[in-house]
């Protein structure tokens, strides 16, 4: 990624879409930059697909403006917009061969035979379907049909490629592979990709920037690691990744340190300020993988080495009430002395790490002072 300022290719300005009295998209403004892999992430029914369909022209905004490459899209039908879409069902034409499917847009645009053939071959190579020209869609797997849909859109050399839940119909292995391939493909062709998904793993692994949508509004717009490590609110913290959230009161807030007193988790210390009013009700979010787990007493040395909080802070005791072994990591459900529950994950660095703790073991936990996130909303 270059750091040169990029110009926005899509500008969404105060866009609202109402279906009857329900606002599916509620006063959304955001810029999508040229050449980026942009992801609209949110739970089903949050309005992300409606937003995508408004960019494509299949829905018209009730209010607001959408500009593509500086041009107002009001009154411009889908077949005249410089964007192409890969549909959730792929919508490959079943009565046409792969080559005819891919060539469809070019033929309508009036491109001549020789060039069509060359560009079809090029597009199929791009999606690794070289040699499949004469296949019929019903002779192909779902993953292959998706590649046909991709080639069919990419051949049009759109300014923006829109993808509606591109990986939702694939099995887990294929999905992981396609995540990489899509990112690679985007890098290769340099076209702006805008993807809609409800899957946070998908969003984190592919996106250069993610807009988290909740109830028709943008909850947060950030890069993947910022979104994960610095969620702006409880919805984002909870929706992206898994998280422990505790209510508390802000007891100390200075430029270089802060403390929150949580009835559930104990005293939480942070090595940075949070700019909230003293005594305010806040929430503390703590990711399961950022918590160290050790046998009480034995962990003292470990704690001393890693501890960067005053005594009695960032520390909890509890008892393991549940665990699930996932191979690479083990998840623990821990009942704290306060009666609250805490989810902790632990990487299985050696083959026998999962044997260290088991049900009903008494454990101690601590976390670093830069791990918790204080959320005001």
């Amino acid at each position: 990624m270059t750091d040169a300022p990029k110009k926005p290719i899509i500008q969404i300005q105060n866009v609202t879409k109402r279906f009857g009295r329900v606002a599916a998209v509620d006063n959304v403004s955001l810029d999508i930059l040229a050449g980026e892999f942009f992801v609209l992430l949110g739970p089903s029914g949050c309005g992300k697909t409606t937003l995508l369909r408004m960019i494509a022209g299949f829905e018209l905004p009730t209010e607001g403006t959408i500009l593509i490459d500086g041009q107002d899209m009001a009154g411009i039908p889908p077949n005249k917009r410089p964007v192409n879409m890969v549909f959730q069902s792929y919508a490959v034409f079943p009565h046409m061969s792969v080559a005819d499917n891919v060539a469809y847009g070019l033929k309508i645009a009036g491109v001549k035979g020789g060039e069509v053939r060359d560009r079809v071959a090029e597009a199929l190579d791009l999606v690794k379907l070289g040699g499949f020209e004469d296949r019929m869609p019903d002779q192909m797997s779902g993953g292959q049909r998706q590649r046909v849909a991709l080639a069919r859109s990419l051949i049009m050399r759109p300014k923006v490629l829109l993808l509606d839940e591109p990986l939702s119909a694939l099995d887990a292995k294929l999905r992981a592979q396609m995540q990489f391939e899509l990112a690679e493909l985007q890098d290769q062709v340099g076209i702006t990709f805008v993807t809609v998904t409800h899957d946070q793993d998908e969003a984190l692994s592919m996106a250069s920037r993610i807009a988290v949508i909740n109830k028709g509004e943008v909850s947060q717009l950030a890069g993947p690691s910022d979104l994960y490590e610095y969620p702006a609110n409880r919805f984002v913290a909870d929706f992206v990744g898994s998280v422990n959230i505790f209510e508390g009161k802000l007891t100390l807030d200075e430029p270089d340190r802060a403390a929150v007193d949580c009835p559930g988790l104990g005293k939480v210390y942070l090595n940075h300020g949070v700019t909230g009013p003293h005594g305010a009700d806040v929430w503390v979010a703590l990711r399961p993988e950022k918590i160290y787990l050790h046998v009480p007493g034995e962990g003292k040395a470990v704690r001393a080495a890693a501890q960067d909080a005053p005594d009695g802070h960032n520390f909890a005791r509890g008892c393991i009430k549940g665990m699930s072994y996932l191979g690479d990591i083990t998840l623990y459900d821990i009942l704290l002395e306060s009666g609250a529950r805490l989810r902790v994950s632990r990487p299985n660095l050696s083959r026998h790490d999962q044997e260290d703790f088991t049900w009903d073991d008494k454990v101690s936990m601590h976390w670093r002072a830069d791990s918790p996130v204080v959320l005001l909303g």
Partner: protein, 281 residues
Amino acid sequence: MALFARTPLAPLEYSRTLWMRAWVGLVMLFLYAPLIVLMIFSFNDSKRNVVWRGFTTKYYEKALGNDVLVEALVNSLTIAALATIASLILGAVAAVMLWRFRFPLKGAVDGTISLPIIVPEICMGVAFLIFFAKWLEWPTDLIWPFNLGAIIIAHITFCFPFVTMVVRSRLASFNREQEEAAKDLGAGEWGVFRDVLIPHMKPALVAGALLSFTLSLDDFVITYFTSGPDTITFPVKVYSMVRFSVTPEVNAASTLLILLTIVLTAVALKLQGVKAIAETH
């Protein structure tokens, strides 16, 4: 003996049980025995055609040499072909309209469109008689093929609702994302219709055409009331011949018609693939 299976029956494998096979055999017998008897007796060397008196093909020569019968057959085929083409266009357009658009009185249109299927044929026949003869005063002395006009119009009336029904049920399985994909790639409304919607409807159009053609070809009641004094169609001619006696000539002509229908059906199935047609029903 395949009938008494050695390998044990799977739970839903009824097609291998004896009683199911016997039942299917009986159904087939009831369906096709009359037709087969008719075909066999077209080769019977007997004028009265009650008992078998030996093999001959002379009644085929006689049937094909019967100018009125041949004229009736040509008339019937012409009517069926023209009525099918018109029904196909009308029926498909009506189906797309009902599927695609919302308009005032849609429910009423939807209901009345299939009325010709429900109304007893005899009523339709009488209605057409009054409509053409008394109300329109349709001329009966036009030259061929215009003398068939009234019959063709009447046939279209009861054929196109069938096309509409078949095409509509096919359209119900259409994935709207395909339409959007075509638009997204630059197609206009007509392009979507030509490149996506018509190919999707094709099996239903073939099935609808087959239905229309056969319905028109063997229609007796409505045709009888609609045809003028000088126009004759195949079923009407056969009826008038049978009034005197069922000669092997009638059998021969019917056999030719059955063969024609079988060939047409086979061609249609071949064109479309059996699977695609079966899907629409």
